[in-house]
């Protein structure tokens, strides 16, 4: 009788274990999550602040870096990043903004807005993404023109953040640099093709932001 119960118990364990399912990691990281947000006070049915812009500034060849693991504050290909990631991504963002009708200028040429690109790694004050169809809120904070960014709550992930900062209306905004558009792309830490998938996600960020245009 004991053998019968052992057999049934074993069968039960086998079936139970085969029923406990979850997606495979390799399937989960097939695409990066791309979230974009915009300031509804300056981008809405009545107005679009991008129509008032003409020029932008974007630092070339470097990327902001905020990490709780290392002390570096920028990423540079071949310096503290092994491989080609920073330059292709910065170039692609530049290309997308230019394709939207804006002209890249230098910092001393009075740009209308700045585009910031920052990688957040294991940063504990950052909101990542919301469930599709569900929006939990966002508390933006901008600490300075080149200062490290951003927001609320938690993340143990590696996320690429692209932000558009309003320079043109600095004084009108009470001497504040408002973030009017943000894109969060992740997770960079688990992807099997970091540069390729990031470029694909950058493209998607602009595709899903049709208002990001001069006209």
């Amino acid at each position: 009788m004991m053998i019968r119960w052992l057999f049934l118990s074993g069968l039960m364990v086998v079936i139970f274990s085969s029923c406990m399912r979850a997606p495979q990691d390799v399937d989960l990281v097939k695409y990066m999550v791309v979230q974009t947000e915009y300031d509804t006070e300056v981008i809405n049915d009545a107005t679009n602040i991008f129509n008032t812009y003409g020029t932008f500034v974007l630092r070339q060849d470097t990327m902001g870096y905020v990490s709780t693991i290392v002390v570096d504050t920028i990423l540079v290909d071949g310096f503290n990043f092994d491989g080609e990631f920073v330059t292709p991504v910065v170039d692609r963002v530049t290309e997308e903004v230019e394709n939207a009708g804006f002209l890249r200028v230098e910092e001393d040429q009075n740009p209308d807005f700045a585009v910031k690109i920052v990688v957040l790694e294991n940063f504990s004050f950052f909101q990542t993404v919301s469930y599709p169809g569900y929006y939990s809120g966002y508390y933006g904070y901008y600490g300075g023109y080149y200062g490290p960014v951003v927001s609320t709550y938690y993340s143990n992930f590696v996320t690429l953040v692209i932000e558009v900062v309003d320079i043109k209306n600095y004084q009108a905004n009470g001497n504040k640099y408002n973030v009017i558009w943000s894109s969060y792309i992740g997770d960079l830490g688990v992807t099997l093709d970091l540069t390729g998938k990031t470029l694909e996600a950058v493209d998607q960020a602009f595709i899903q932001s049709p208002y990001f245009s001069k006209n």
Binding site: R4, W5, L8, L11, M12, I15, F16, S18, C19, M20, R21, A22, P23, D27, L28, V29, K30, Y31, M32, V33, V34, Q35, T36, E37, Y38, D39, T40, T128, V129, S130, Y131, P132, G133, Y134, Y135, Y138, F157, G186, D187, G189, V190, Q204, I207, Q208, S209
Partner: protein
């Protein structure tokens, strides 16, 4: 409803029973679940399921027991863009429903003493539903508990005339009152097909 079922079982247990070969049965089996509701969340048939139960025969015709079941339902939503207030999000999503039930049931056996023992049963209990979505490395979860009702028809089959081993197959319908407002998922219903092994005991 539960009180009525208990009362019925109590009355039947007072009926003098004919001598039976076995007094109880333990079963474990594979369960396939076809969701009938919320197919936008998990529309695929799930064969990742198990049922385990114990039945006590109180007469030739009647029995009662307890049963637990577990199924994982899942579905894949290809990459698409969702508009949200003040923005948008693009991702593919894996929807999962981990569906666990535990219930008491009463059984009516259409005939005994033969190798095929067809029956009908009605079970009631609690369903525990864990709705979980996976997208990239991110997850969202909502846990719900609710009442569940399960009418069932099936048959037991003795492998040999006096064998304590048998097989079981059944067809049942689940209705669980759970719902997830968070994921916009309503009451759950589905049809199950079970095939398993039975161990008859004294």
């Amino acid at each position: 409803m539960f009180r009525i079922l208990i009362s019925i079982l109590f009355v039947f247990s007072a009926v003098r029973t004919k001598a039976q070969l076995y007094q109880s049965a333990f079963h474990v089996g594979w369960n396939t679940l076809v969701p009938l509701s919320d197919k936008e969340y998990t529309g695929k048939t799930s064969s990742a399921g198990v049922r385990v139960g114990f039945s006590k025969f109180i007469s030739d015709r009647f029995g009662f027991g307890i049963e637990g079941s577990y199924n994982t339902l899942d579905d894949y939503v290809p990459r698409r863009t969702y508009e949200i207030p003040g923005g948008a999000i693009t991702t593919d999503v894996y929807n999962y429903l981990y569906y666990f039930t535990i219930m008491a049931n009463g059984q009516y056996y259409f005939k005994q003493g033969e190798r095929f023992i067809p029956y009908a049963s009605l079970g009631m209990g609690i369903a525990f539903s864990e709705y979980r979505i996976f997208y990239n490395v991110f997850e969202d979860t909502d846990n719900r508990q609710s009442f569940v009702l399960r009418p069932e028809v099936g048959t037991l089959f003795r492998i040999k005339e006096y064998s304590s081993w048998g097989l079981k197959s059944s067809l049942s319908y689940d209705f669980a009152a759970n719902k997830s407002d968070y994921f916009g998922v309503d009451n759950f219903s589905g049809i199950s097909f079970q095939f398993g092994i039975v161990l008859f005991t004294d």
